[in-house]
Subunit: 346 residues, 4 copies
């Protein structure tokens, strides 16, 4: 018996990646495919890589089109998913709604309002299964908030250290480089190929990036106390991938072997998150198109800090892959269904 899935925002990068992964999912039938300004167009004209769906015509994004499916993926502008989810629930209360947008990620209404400037829509179960206790919260869920791509990277990089109480909560610094697809498909001059090829630049520096409160929320939960971060995102000349360098002071006197062991233990049983063998560094090339996260850790005794570098594909594990992994857990399917550990390289 196949699960029916509808995908909104199908003309964008997140929606396209959800569709790409769904075409390889053994338990799924793709139902409605919707968009807003591109409604009425052939998918093949907008997402030419999705060949098997090329002749599908995009419907308008309405509750009517989306309701009635077992699962609905939402990839909408901030502030739009709450109302639409409510309308879908009226028509088909059992539908699993997975929000790839930010609306339902933050627990603090105040943080939401400060960073997004609208009313808080509420908090849904957070779709990052590798966080402690998170699989239990996702099992059977009918609402899932997909984490941001930077938070996925940063939380997987640092949570083991905070959970094991080996990291200090101040002076945490995260610098991350993202491929340009992280900025979406909107046509802005600084995202032109001529501008991004051959260059790197930062943006949203100094606490202003909307992913800052989301990362602090997750790290504080792991630490059991407030964690403060300095987060600097940069744009790299590549289409996909995030490489994060996350560094924090370790509790003075902690044995470096014990520090490494915290990460080893946290991910020993995970299919999609791996600490690499010592001496091997992560590269975003190794995880392109896969649901995989690779990381390496160094204990810098000179600086008294732990440095974790972590790589993932912002569109796969950072968005659509993480969403499907969470869907699989919510519906009781195999967690790996439709996902791969293999990257497409070189």
């Amino acid at each position: 018996m196949s699960i029916t899935v509808a995908v909104s925002g199908a003309s964008g990068y997140a929606g396209g990646e959800v569709l790409r992964l769904l075409t390889a999912h053994p338990d799924v039938t793709i139902g409605a495919i919707t968009a807003h300004s591109n409604a009425g167009e052939r998918l093949g004209a907008l997402q030419p890589h999705l060949h098997s769906l090329a002749d599908r015509v995009l419907q308008d994004t309405t509750a009517e089109a989306l309701a009635g499916h077992d699962v609905v993926f939402l990839a909408l502008p901030h502030g739009a998913s709450g109302a639409l989810a409510a309308q879908i629930a009226e028509r088909s209360p059992d539908t699993l709604v997975i929000d790839a947008g930010a609306d339902h990620r933050l627990e603090s209404a105040e943080a939401w309002e400060r960073f997004y400037g609208t009313d808080h829509a509420g908090t849904w179960p957070y779709g990052l299964p590798e966080l402690p206790g998170q699989r239990e919260r996702l099992a059977g869920a009918r609402r899932i908030a997909v984490p941001g791509c930077y938070p996925t990277t940063a939380l997987l990089a640092l949570t083991p250290g905070f959970s094991a109480d080996v990291l200090e909560p101040q002076d945490v610094v995260i610098v991350a480089a993202s491929g340009t697809s992280g900025a979406g498909k909107s046509v802005k001059p600084h995202l032109l190929g001529s501008e991004v090829m051959g260059g790197m630049s930062p943006y949203g520096v100094g606490g202003g990036h909307r992913h800052t409160p989301e990362i602090e929320q997750g790290l504080s939960q792991a630490a059991g106390q407030p964690v403060t971060i300095s987060f600097t995102p940069t744009l790299a000349p590549m289409a996909r991938g995030i490489l994060a360098t996350a560094t924090a002071r370790y509790v003075p006197g902690t044995d470096p072997v014990a520090i490494r062991q915290a990460w080893q233990d946290a991910y020993a049983q995970e299919e999609f998150v791996h600490l690499l063998p010592e001496g091997q560094w992560p590269t975003t090339k190794a995880v392109l198109g896969s649901n995989h996260v690779v990381m390496q850790l160094a204990v810098d005794e000179h600086a008294g800090r732990v440095i974790v570098t972590a790589a993932l594909d912002n569109l796969t594990k950072g968005t659509a892959g993480g969403a499907i992994q969470s869907m699989n857990i919510a519906l009781g399917l195999s967690e790996q269904a439709g996902l791969t550990q293999q990257g497409t390289a070189p």
Copy 2:
């Protein structure tokens, strides 16, 4: 019942892509993985994107290691596959041997000797199923010569026109841009990232490229008369992909609609080769990691020529994907097993 497959040359790009695709093939068990200078190393250190095989240790490339499997993929230097195939046949006569190298592609011993400078090893069935009558030759085969990546592109681009007798055999011009993985993993100064990023350059211009006789062989078979080409390969600043522009005079007076129809008919039933809707142009991004070929055709009445532009992934349909597709046919499996129509984009 699973088919056992051994892969030689596993530290290179072709061997790595064969392994990547095999991990997703439902009917296959991966047996021996071999290399030459890298024997004894962990695959994870050499091909970090192949996570599920990371702990496999490379064996030395010997008949002993490779024999006994149902299928053996060879990715060896020119001149090496004939002898090794014979040794494998002694030990396991029923093994399907698939040669990703050039040794068994050419029918003309003279052309082989002129372009490769060694004795001709013989001719094996040519692994390009979409050529007329080729599936019949591959069914049940125990030896397959995988086409070169440029010949795959060029032959798929022009064969329909020669088969339909609408193209003239002289002044055929093919100019193709390839990603750097087509040049392999050997460390040569001109292949350094610093040299290739931001630049394009031609190589092997003027008839000297070894793929020229292979392309002429295929086109001449389609035309039923000798076809002469001018072929210029160029290196583009991307890791994967080939975009070929192939142009030939059409027979004066031919109806442009009939010309387009020749391509339409040739590929109407194909899963992996498609003429795009008019107005849409191929891009290599759309086929990255897929076994797909997309092409578009223009009839230039001013110049009296047909121009076909075709895009594929040189490592997938251009090498490893085409090889697995041929394997599937030879063994009577579903032709699409382990292969995808979807590219990984953006």
Copy 3:
């Protein structure tokens, strides 16, 4: 005594490159800098690489702002330069007006109307000094039409062969790859970095590209008879550079040495156009930011064709550098003033 120069279209790529080169020109003072929709903005916000001009504020593009300078560069949409040049002439009849747009390149009003759809504005001296007799036409000129970037490449690649009567006028094929800056700074989805990095695609295939009549015009003048070309432009994943592969049948029986000699002779005295030593192939990296064109030639006796591959920087020699070189000639300055033979590599 310094020459005053005004630059319109200063927020775009062509205008920006004109300004970059003018800052290094020993005989020039930069006067008005104008734009249309960006009038009133700091140049530093739009062209951050032009540091020494960062605090200049863009004026509106009007005859009033531009007149009164010794030289005016126009980089305007098609159809706009004729009227503006007339208005400038009313106010300052001696001003040298250099049009980087297409309006005054074509001699055939019919060709103009077919490809551009508007009334023909007339023909100005063509700013490609290396064409036979062209320096004489540019000396003292007060109007110059800057060639298109593809025509500059194609004409330099093939003119020597047509002038020397060694090439045949039919079945000329030109396939060229351009960096994305050739498409300008307009924000279109297919020019996003996420779309262009890692991919190649053709456009304007089959005779439809507006540079086709311009190339045919120049080649026909060199040949003394009509030359017909098949021209296919492609977009490459790099910001700058054009690599053209231009191929034509040679007159049967011509000595290959004599063919090469035609190019050797044509460019022996040129500062900015060079036939490379045999065995060395052009790369666009070698000419980045320079006014240099490098080319190599092969005589393919098997196919009966000459293949010329030529590389230049589309913004420098292909637009702004060629414009300044022509300005230097028109004003009697050193032809090399403000220009360099050195590329910026790697």
Copy 4:
């Protein structure tokens, strides 16, 4: 009267960039051009972008070839420059020797031995003129140690804050992305274009990078007390450029306006180092090929940290441009001679 300059290591990226800049230097004549394994080859075959020097033949790197010039640039493997400089001094004591290698950068013999494993060769004046008091030390110098490219970036980014006593000396974190030319022209598998295009990866993480003691040396001098850093370099998919994110705690209670003012004051008179207007972020594209450094600063009151992002061209200001700027000062030439503020973009 022209200054004669010899350049060793001319086949590499640093030597090539020295030559590129020298061809535009008004006061310089290029004398001997030397290399080691490439001695006897045409420069045009190795550095095809240096057209005006294409026919120069590389001499062997010996004191005999280099002595007798006014200036000698050394770009040699670690440990080689001390002995060669002594031999040059015997033959021509007044020659200015500029070492682009690391041998004479560190003041601490112990740090040298720990990070480089050989005997310390001594300390030469440090070629970073924008550091406080540094121009005085360079004026009239006959030995100059060119800083590493990462140290140039990091020191320019953070020195104003330490000099002004607004930064705290612990928990300084620097994460930097470099283009691949920073790794030199040596052919290593991980530097192949196929490996670097489309990916980012860290290296030398955890205190092991040799630039760490050099950065700490400079920051400690500015602070007047020991500064400890955590430094993580990463490799980005571009040929040139460094983008550094450097962050440190500010002294609690410091006025954010005063913090910004420290940087403003430090660079207000500099030609080649600029704090951008608020709201504009640095990009490496803007400084490609120029001697320019652009930076932006944010005071993150939430995290209590200052974040400085700085961009330069690793081969120009980061190596060859900084070297020529220092040469100009040492010889009493205009500091800007041969250098440009304009980057080559897009």
